[in-house]
Subunit: 738 residues, 2 copies
C-alpha cells in the first residue's frame, strides 16, 4: 500500500515534469496537430491568433517601466504582453515554429531582468498595489496567462534558464501577490480568485507543491484584521471565512451556480476559476476539481449564459458595464471548458458558433469538432430562479421569460453581492427582445478608458450607481437601503416568497425584504401575464409596503425612450434643480412635478419602434415626478436618462400596483403607428389587508383579470377563501389569477 | 396628313379605353402572368401582397365618418383603405380572382354613397381641409392610389356602375381637391404635386381631358393672392410662378435632380411624381414625360439615393424625420421606375434586392427579372455636389465621402427649401459609416403618432428645429439667419465657392453666405483629409466671418455621445438655466461654461465604440458652453441631446478653424480602448487676411499639414503666391494643401 502510494506519487511527479501539461497536454497537442486544417472553427482561431501574434512579434518586445493606470500606455502594453505570450506559447506547441518559443523566452527574460529591482507601482489608489500594474489584481492576470506560456516552452528551455526564470521572476512574483499581499490574496473575492489561480498555475508548472497548497487553501497566518476594507469599500476579512481557491468556489457561488457579485463579475472571474480548474484537472486530477461542490463550476457556466438577454448581453446586476456579453473571451473559455468537461451539451455549441472562436486546446478542439459535425443545438433560455449564497439560502434572482425571450423580467432579491453590490432590494429590469425597456443603470465607470478616471470606478459609482434611487425599487425617506452602508447590507438578504413559472401565461415571482429599512417590510410580486385581450404579454407589479411609522416612499421607473403622453397634469420648472441633496438624489434633476387626476396614472413612451404604457393605481395625494440623471455631474460621467417617479408621502402601509405594458409598433420607414394606445381601462387594488392583496385589471375589450396574493402563506397546498365585493374566491397556493 | 393624324387620335382614344392602361397595361399583365412563379422577388411581393389584402378582406369593409387627425382611427382606416384598394386591384389583374374586383367595387360604392353628402373634415388645422382626411393632401393620396384600383377593375365594371362612380365620387373628388381648393392645388409644393397627380391619374383612367390638362397646367384663374401663406408658413403663390404638374417638376428640382425641400420630402413627393409620370407615359406617351427637363425625374432617383447614409437613411436636411430611408415604399416605386424607364442601371438592382419587394407592374417585373438573372451590382456612392434651384444656380448641397462611406460629410449651402426649410446656411452633419457623429436635429414631429400633436408638426419645430442655433453653423447675436423670416430667407441662397473631390485624400467644398445677416459675410470651407499620420480621415473646417460691426458669434457642435475629456476649465451650474430667451436659445440648458486655457481647445467624446476629438483654434476670450436641448419643452417633444458651443463676443472679422477627428475604438466586450487619444498636437490659423486664410495642423507624429484658402478667387487656373513666416508658397487653384 505504502509502496504503491509512493510509486503513485513518483509517477505523478514524473508525469508532472512532462510539459506542456497545464492547459495544453502532450496528448492533446498531438491530437490537435492531427486535426489541423480539418476543423473550420479551430482553424479560423489558429489563423486569427497567428496573424495577431505575428503582428506583435514584428513590432518587437516592449516591457516599459510601469507607470500608468488602466487605459494608459504602460498598463495596456503589459496587458497586451501577457495575452500575446499565452497565445505565442500555444502557437509554438501546435505549429512547431520555434520563433514563437524564442519570442516567449526573450520577453520572459526581459521581465526577469526588470522584476527583481522593480518597486511597487507608483499609482497609489489600490489597497494592494502591484508591480507591473497599479493593483495586484492585474499582476495576477499577468501570471495566470504567463504560466501557460511558460508551460508551453518549459521543455524547450534549458534547465538553467528555467531555474533563472523561476528564481528571479516566477517565485518572487507569486510570493509578492500572495504572502506580501495577504489583504489581496486571502480574501473571498474575485481579486483573490485571480491571485489564487495565478499562484496555483505557476505552482503547477513549476511543480511547486508549496505554491499549489497556498493557492488552494490560502496563507495560514495572514495577520489580517477582521473587518478591514479595501479601496472600494469591500471587506477584506470576515469572521470565520476561509481563504484560498476552494473557498472562493464555495462561498460566492450558490448551489445553482449564481455568483453573488452578479454576472458581470462572474464573467470576469470565470476565466481564473475555469482555467486553473482545467490545469488542476490535468496535473492533479485527484482533486476532482470539476466535481467540487456538486460540479458548481461547470453548472455556473449554464447559469451565466442564462443571465443574458437575447443578444447575449449580461443583465446589469450590481456593478456591471453594459454591453458585456457572452462574446467576451472569458466566455469562450467558459463555454469550451463546460462543453468538454461538462458532458458535451450540444446547446453550448450554438453559443460557440456565435462566438466564432475557440480555445486552442483539447476543449476548444472538441467544440470545433462538434460544430463541424453539425451537433449544435439552439441554446434555449427559459424562466429560471437562481438562489444566492453559498448555501443557496440568501435570496436570489428570478428571471421570467415569455416566448423566445420576447419579454424578459429580471427580479433581484439577492444578498448584497460583496463590494460590487448595489443597494437595490426587490428591484427589477425589463427587456423586450434584446432591448432594455426598464433599465438598471449599471455602473458608473468606463472600464479601461484612461480619460475617465484612469478607467477605474468613478466617484459617481458610489454617489449614484449604488444608491437605491438609481434603481427600480422603493426608497423610503430619501435614504438608501441599509442606509447605503455595506457593513449592514452585507448582513442581510431578501427572501423568496414564491416562484412559479409553471404556467407560461402567468409566471410569478414574489419576495420579501424586511431589513432594508428597520421597521418596514416590503413585499413585491411581479408577474408576466399573457392575456388574450392584450397584444403582447405585460408585467404586473404589486409592491406592498408595511410600516408602523409614516414615511415617504419613492418608486422610480427608469424607462428608456421618449415620453409620448400622460394622463395627469404637471408643472415644468423653468430652471432645473436637483431633487435632493444626498443618497443619489443630488444627481437627479426634477423636470416635471404633478399629481394624479384620476385613480389611475397612465404614462406612455416610445422606444425603438415600440410603444409602452405604465398604468399605476395612484392616489390623489401622490406626487408624480419626472426626473433626469445628470445633476452634480460636472465631468459628464452619467448618462442623461429619465425616470417617472411616484412619491407617496406620510404613509405607513400601502400598495403600489402597476402594469408595464408593451404594445404596438412604429416604423420610421413606413411611418405607420400600430396599436399605439394602452389596452388597459382600469387597474385597481380591490382588496388589501394583512392576509391578502388583490389587484384587478380591466381592459378596453371588456375583459378583466384579477390577481390575489396570499401575503402570509406561500405554501403551494394551502387553500384560501376570500370575498371581494360580492364574489367569493377560493383557491389553493400562494396566488389566485384569472 | 390630316387623315392620318385623325386616325392616330382615334386609335389613341380607342387604346386609351382599354384597361388597365395606367400603371398596369394589358400587355404587361400578360407578361406578368407568364412569368408568375419564376421570379423570386416578384413572387415574394405577390405573396406578401396577397396575404395582406386577404387579411383585410377578411376584416370587412370599413369607411368610417372622418373625424381624426393622422394617427387617429378614421385617418388610419381611410389611409389603409386606399393602400389596400390599389393592391387588390393589381391582384385582380394578375391573379384573375374576381374576389379582389368585388372588394374594390364594394368599397368604392361605399365611398360613393358617403362622398356626396360628406362635409369638410371637422379638424380645422389645415389651410386646405379635405373631406376624408383633415387635409386635401391626404385626400389626394387617396385618389392617387384609388385611381389605380379603379383602372384595374374598369373593364370588369358595367358601364353604368362606372358612370355612377365617376359622377358621384371621382369627378367631384377631383374637383374638390383642385378647383374648390386652388390654394392647395395651384402651388409649387409637394402638396400640389400630390393634388396634380391625383387629378391627372383619375383623368387618365376616365379619359377626361379636362382633368388631365388641369393636372398638367393647373387652374387657369385661381383667384389666389400673391404671398398668401399656408398653416406651416409656406407661400401659396409667388409672383410669376406657374401651377400644375409640369411646373412642379420644373421648379423644385434642380438640373442635378436635387429637390429643394430636401430628401425627406423628395422621398414623399417621388411617388406622385413617378407614378403619375408612369401613367402619363403609358396613356399619353406624346408628352415624353420621362424626358422632361433633361430626364430630371429619373435623374432625381439617383440623386435621392445619393442623399442617404450607408444604412440607406436619408440625410436630415430641413424638415426630416430621422430613420426614413430607401426602404420606404416610395423608394421601391422610384427605384423600379428608374430602372425600367431609365436605362436598366444594374446598380439599382442591388437597392431593389435590399428592399426585398418590387412594384407589381412592368417595372417591378423587370427589376425582379434583373435580380433573378444576377445582374445586380453594388450601388456605389461617391462624393457628389448637387446644385439647388430650378436653374441650378441657387446654391446646393455638397457631400464628401471617404472610402466606402467610412466618413461622410453633408454640407448645406442651399436655398431656403420652401416651407420645410431650416435657417441653417453653411451648416453640416457628419457620419461615420451609418452612424451620426455630428447631427442635424431633423424635425420636431412624430409623424402619424396621434399622441404627439395628432402626428403633425409640433410647435417646437418652429421654435427649435428650424432655428439656426439648432444647427452646426454660425449664429450671430443670438438671432437666426434672415431673422428666422421665411419671406426673407426665400429670397436668397448661399453660393458655391468651389468644390473639388478629384483627390480622394483631400476633398474640399467651400461656399459663401452674404445675406443671412446683413453686413456679415460667412465663408466656410470644409474638407475631408486623409493624412498618413492619422489613423482615419478627419474633417477640417475653416469658417471665416467678416463683418464691419462687432458681433457675438456662436458656433455649436451637436456631437452624439458621451463627453470624455476637455482641455479647458469650466464651471458647472448647480441649477440649469436656459441659454437665452428666444430663437431656439430658450430650448437650451447651459450645463457648463468655461474658457480656453490654451490656444487650442480640445474636446473628446465616445460614441458607439468610437472615439472622436474636436480641436479648435480658440481665443482666450472665447466662451466654451456645454448645452443640452430640452428647456421649455414641457411635453418632452425634444430629445435631450448635447452640444459644445464656441462663443466669440464683440468680434467683427474672425476665423473659426477646427478639426473633427474620428479615432480608435472601444469594445464593451473586449474592454480594449484602442487609440483613444487625438493625434493632433496643434491647430493654428497661421495666416488670415482678405485674400488668404491658412490653417496648419501639427500631429503628434511630427507631421504638419497646411491648408491655404484663396478667399477671393476660386478660379481653377489662377496662380497664387503667399509668404507665411519665412516660407513662400506658390500654387494654382482655389486652395493649397500639403
Amino acid at each position: 500500500m505504502l509502496i504503491m502510494l509512493t510509486i503513485g506519487i513518483l509517477a505523478n511527479a514524473l508525469l508532472a515534469q512532462e510539459h506542456p501539461n497545464l492547459i495544453l497536454t502532450k496528448a492533446g497537442v498531438e491530437k490537435i496537430k492531427a486535426e489541423l486544417g480539418k476543423v473550420p472553427l479551430f482553424d479560423a482561431t489558429v489563423s486569427a491568433t497567428k496573424a495577431e501574434v505575428d503582428a506583435e512579434i514584428a513590432l518587437g518586445i516592449h516591457t516599459p517601466i510601469p507607470k500608468d493606470y488602466s487605459g494608459g500606455y504602460t498598463h495596456e502594453r503589459h496587458k497586451r504582453n501577457f495575452l500575446i505570450l499565452q497565445k505565442a506559447g500555444v502557437l509554438f506547441q501546435i505549429l512547431d515554429d520555434e520563433k514563437y518559443a524564442i519570442y516567449v523566452r526573450d520577453m520572459l527574460f526581459q521581465y526577469e531582468a526588470m522584476y527583481k529591482d522593480l518597486p511597487i507601482h507608483p499609482q497609489q489608489r489600490s489597497y494592494a498595489r502591484g508591480k507591473l500594474f497599479w493593483q495586484c489584481l492585474n499582476d495576477s492576470n499577468w501570471l495566470v496567462y504567463v504560466s501557460q506560456a511558460y508551460d508551453c516552452i518549459y521543455d524547450w528551455l534549458p534547465p538553467k534558464e528555467r531555474k533563472k526564470l523561476e528564481k528571479n521572476l516566477f517565485r518572487p512574483f507569486a510570493d509578492f501577490i500572495s504572502i506580501k499581499n495577504p489583504q489581496f490574496f486571502n480574501r473571498v473575492h474575485n481579486h483573490s480568485t485571480w491571485g489564487n489561480a495565478a499562484v496555483g498555475m505557476i505552482g503547477l508548472v513549476m511543480n511547486d507543491e508549496e505554491l499549489i497548497q497556498r493557492a488552494l487553501y490560502g496563507i495560514k497566518n495572514d495577520g489580517l484584521e477582521i473587518d478591514a476594507k479595501d479601496n472600494d469599500g469591500g471587506f477584506i476579512k470576515l469572521p470565520g471565512q476561509k481563504p484560498g481557491f476552494l473557498s472562493n468556489i464555495d462561498e460566492p457561488f450558490s448551489p445553482d451556480g449564481y455568483f453573488t457579485e452578479g454576472p458581470y463579475y462572474q464573467r470576469y472571474a470565470m476565466y481564473p476559476f475555469l482555467i486553473f480548474a482545467e490545469g488542476l484537472h490535468n496535473v492533479k486530477p485527484e482533486y476532482k476539481i470539476f466535481e467540487h461542490k456538486d460540479s458548481v463550476l461547470l453548472k455556473s457556466v449554464n447559469t451565466l449564459l442564462n443571465l443574458s438577454d437575447p443578444d447575449g448581453e449580461f443583465f446589469s446586476l450590481n456593478d456591471a458595464q453594459k454591453g458585456m456579453s457572452y462574446y467576451s473571451r472569458e466566455l469562450v473559455t467558459a463555454v469550451d471548458i463546460a462543453y468538454y468537461f461538462g458532458g458535451n451539451n450540444p446547446q453550448l455549441l450554438s453559443i460557440a458558433e456565435k462566438q466564432g472562436s475557440v480555445l486552442l486546446d483539447d476543449s476548444g478542439l472538441a467544440v470545433a469538432l462538434g460544430v463541424r459535425d453539425g451537433k449544435a443545438q439552439p441554446f434555449i433560455k427559459k424562466s429560471i430562479n437562481l438562489s444566492d449564497g453559498a448555501d443557496g439560502k440568501q435570496g436570489g434572482v428570478g428571471i421570467l421569460r415569455y416566448g423566445t425571450e420576447d419579454l424578459t423580467l429580471v427580479f433581484k432579491y439577492a444578498a448584497q453581492g460583496l463590494s460590487h453590490g448595489h443597494y437595490d432590494k426587490l428591484s427589477f429590469s425589463l427587456f423586450e427582445k434584446g432591448d432594455e425597456v426598464i433599465q438598471d443603470y449599471g455602473l458608473a465607470r468606463f472600464v479601461n478608458i484612461e480619460q475617465k478616471g484612469g478607467g477605474n470606478y468613478l466617484k459617481e459609482n458610489t454617489t449614484w450607481a449604488k444608491q437605491t434611487i438609481a434603481h427600480n425599487t422603493i426608497v423610503q425617506n430619501e435614504t438608501s437601503h441599509f442606509n447605503g452602508e455595506y457593513e449592514i447590507g452585507s448582513k442581510y438578504h431578501s427572501e423568496l416568497y414564491f416562484y412559479d413559472a409553471s404556467n407560461i401565461e402567468v409566471q410569478v415571482v414574489s419576495a420579501k425584504e424586511k431589513n432594508a429599512y428597520p421597521g418596514t417590510e416590503m413585499h413585491r410580486t411581479m408577474a408576466i401575464i399573457k392575456d388574450e385581450n392584450f397584444e403582447k404579454p405585460f408585467v404586473l407589479d404589486i409592491l406592498k409596503v408595511n410600516s408602523s411609522n409614516p414615511n415617504q416612499y419613492d418608486l422610480p421607473l427608469y424607462f428608456i425612450g421618449q415620453v409620448l403622453q400622460v394622463n395627469f397634469d404637471y408643472e415644468s420648472p423653468l430652471t432645473l434643480d436637483t431633487l435632493g441633496k444626498e443618497n443619489g438624489y443630488q444627481h437627479l434633476y426634477l423636470e416635471g412635478k404633478g399629481s394624479p387626476t384620476r385613480d389611475n396614472t397612465q404614462f406612455s413612451w416610445l422606444d425603438n419602434g415600440r410603444f409602452y404604457t405604465y398604468t399605476s393605481a395612484t392616489k390623489k395625494s401622490d406626487e408624480l415626478l419626472f426626473t433626469r440623471i445628470g445633476a452634480n455631474d460636472p465631468e459628464f460621467n452619467l448618462r442623461r436618462e429619465a425616470a417617472l417617479m411616484i412619491r407617496r408621502k406620510n404613509t405607513g402601509n400601502t400598495v403600489f400596483a402597476s402594469v408595464i405594458e408593451p404594445h404596438g409598433s412604429y416604423s420610421t420607414v413606413s411611418e405607420f403607428a400600430v396599436n399605439s394606445n394602452s389596452s388597459i381601462l382600469n387597474l385597481k387594488v380591490v382588496h388589501d389587508d394583512a392576509e391578502y392583496t388583490a389587484v384587478a385589471v380591466k381592459d378596453v375589450n371588456g375583459g378583466e383579470c384579477l390577481m390575489i396574493i396570499s401575503n402570509i402563506d406561500s405554501s403551494k397546498t394551502s387553500t384560501h377563501k376570500l370575498k371581494i365585493g360580492d364574489r367569493d374566491y377560493q383557491w389553493s397556493g400562494p396566488y389566485y389569477f384569472k
